[in-house]
């Protein structure tokens, strides 16, 4: 199975096959001897040759993070044969979702629908643990829709507004 993997923005081409408890692995054209045990959900014990690694996986809002030892990598996996394309990405055209980066309470909305915003303009203020965080617009555009009210609780990744 071919995978298109992006780690911290760098792309790798990974050919990975699994049969009879054995893995065969080809990374960017290099054959590697790989052996993996899922120690528990989200924790992988990985051997590459005789080198041993423990990898932890975590999902934060919409991002996948992989920890190799104490180093965190942002990871994205695509199976080129599947129809699932990239979501979001660096594309500056089209509508963009403005999401809460952490759970909390929306204490203030700083824009109204139809308002023009610049990149970095404050859209909403979210409070958690007695601290307030301003959620900013990722791009220039018009606030197409506001999906929350002042006073409501939000989770990390919840869409607060859409900027077009």
């Amino acid at each position: 199975m071919l995978y298109d993997v992006t780690i911290d923005g760098k792309r790798y081409r990974l050919d990975l096959n699994h049969a009879d408890g054995r893995w065969s692995c080809r990374l960017d054209g290099r054959d590697l001897e790989v052996d993996a045990v899922l120690a528990r959900p989200d924790v992988l014990s990985l051997r590459i040759g005789n080198m041993a690694y423990e990898i932890k996986s975590e999902r934060v809002a919409t991002d996948m993070h992989l920890w190799v030892g104490s180093t965190c990598f942002a990871a994205e996996v695509r199976d080129p044969r599947s129809l699932r394309g990239r979501t979001g990405g660096g594309d500056d055209r089209g509508p963009r979702k403005i999401t809460a980066s952490m759970p909390g309470k929306v204490v203030r909305l700083l824009v109204h629908e139809g308002e023009q915003v610049e990149p970095g303009a404050g859209v909403a203020v979210v409070e958690a643990m007695k601290m307030q965080n301003e959620i900013k617009s990722p791009k220039r555009g018009t606030i197409q829709k506001i999906l929350v009210r002042e006073g409501v609780a939000v989770n990390a990744g919840d869409v607060l507004a859409i900027v077009e």
């Binding site: 199975m1 995978y3 993997v5 780690i7 911290d8 760098k10 790798y12 990974l14 990975l16 699994h18 408890g21 893995w23 692995c25 990374l27 590697l32 790989v34 993996a36 045990v37 899922l38 528990r40 959900p41 989200d42 924790v43 992988l44 990985l46 590459i48 690694y53 990898i55 932890k56 996986s57 975590e58 999902r59 934060v60 996948m64 992989l66 920890w67 190799v68 030892g69 104490s70 180093t71 990598f73 990871a75 994205e76 996996v77 199976d79 980066s101 952490m102 759970p103 909390g104 309470k105 409070e127 958690a128 643990m129 007695k130 601290m131 965080n133 609780a153 989770n155 990390a156």
Partner: protein, 515 residues
Amino acid sequence: MLAFISIRMFKKILIANRGEIAVRVIRACHEMGIAAVVVYSDVDRSALHVRKADEAYPIGAATAAESYLNIQKILDVAARSGAEAIHPGYGFLSENAKFAQACADAGVKFIGPTAAAMEAMGSKTRARQAMEKAGVPFVPGTSRGVESPEEAEQVAARIGYPVMLKAAAGGGGKGMRLVRARGELKPALEAARSEAERAFGDSEVYLEKAIVNPRHIEMQVLADECGNTVYLGERECSLQRRHQKVLEEAPSPLVDAGMRRGMGEVAVRVAHAASYTNAGTVEFLVDQKKNFYFLEMNTRLQVEHPVTELITGLDLVQLQIRIAAGEKLPFTQEDVHLRGHAIECRIYAEDPANNYFPSPGKITLLLEPSGPGIRLDGGMYEGWTVPIDYDPLLAKLIGYGTDRDQAVARLTQAFAEYFVGGIKTNIPLFRRILRDKDFRAAELDTGFLDRMLKRPEDKPVNATSAEVAAIAAGIFAALGSPAQGAGNGTAGSSKGSPTRADCNWKQTSRREALR
């Protein structure tokens, strides 16, 4: 622990707190054969302290004023449960003299000092007046709130700039302003006053000489209700961010036996001046010439009490309970010996990459360290959602060694094992502190963390690690683990192996049994 002559030990204690400290007190109660009663707010039903308690009572809404700060509700639970004493932990009602008095009036023993002792120490200006009388050294300045900018200017001119403005009712850096020159004084005084009014409902602000990059060292004291007071050594608390402690250690690398005795004797004098009982902490500022000045007294158990426990071999929470039950201290000052070195790291739910902003949420994965010299006082568990309503302290990781280097090495290893997934924590900050050259050399003062954080982090870039991550990402995807998205973590190749292992194990045990 040395034997006490127990007259009347409590059978049931109510813990008016939450989080790791509630769990810590439950442990002490259970070790002593005492039943632990807890209270919880609406968002804390699934909290760890409720799981560990013998009895648990809901006390209302998440807002602290309606639950953990509500004196009447807590006293009602004490009456309903038949608890004979209340341990307040730290924060919440722990330094509230009204609460201590209300407990006394209700016939429930408050595990801590009396309301009168708390009041004597609760206001920083009143504490200064009492200390002045007791001959305790403190930072030059006013022992009363300053009335006018003119008065402030006169005092500042006398003691010399820079000066510090501080809220009399203050704590946690609120209502505090550093003033470097005369021109800054008037606006700073106005700002400090209005901030103090907003934060504490009291605009009294006093002025003292600012000690540049001081060390913050505190002395643990313990006093029984029979007039005996001892000091249990100091804690170095200079590693702070925005006046919040981050890492504490005991003993302080700066303090030698002579200085310790000097500070300890002053601390005991402070406690006596306030007729203090139970556990308390006297905080000192120490300047570059090792002069120490009384700062304030904290009339409660401190977050960082474990480092003192490790180097003295004492259990401070158990001693608090025994003192409250009327027992005499089972040892004297001469019996107190410090052994080894302990360092505590406060694990907060906050994001170091986003200006240390709070990061509550669900803990999806929790891997906790263990091993020689490692103590973990925690209030979290995997699958628990950290509520947005309270202090972000999740746990305290404490390392102990025969000396400071060993404690640092043990903590460094523990942080390589520690993993909290799903939310952000300041664990990466500790990895950085522990490998910092100045920290290793014990070059500590209250400006240390700000200076360290201003320097760019020398992150070792490891191309191999990125490749390992790429392969792991593919394997997680192939196994249909949550790493790829929706899915089930136990799928894939490992699905078959536990069953096989299980079968082998059964077959082996059957064979063994037949032999």
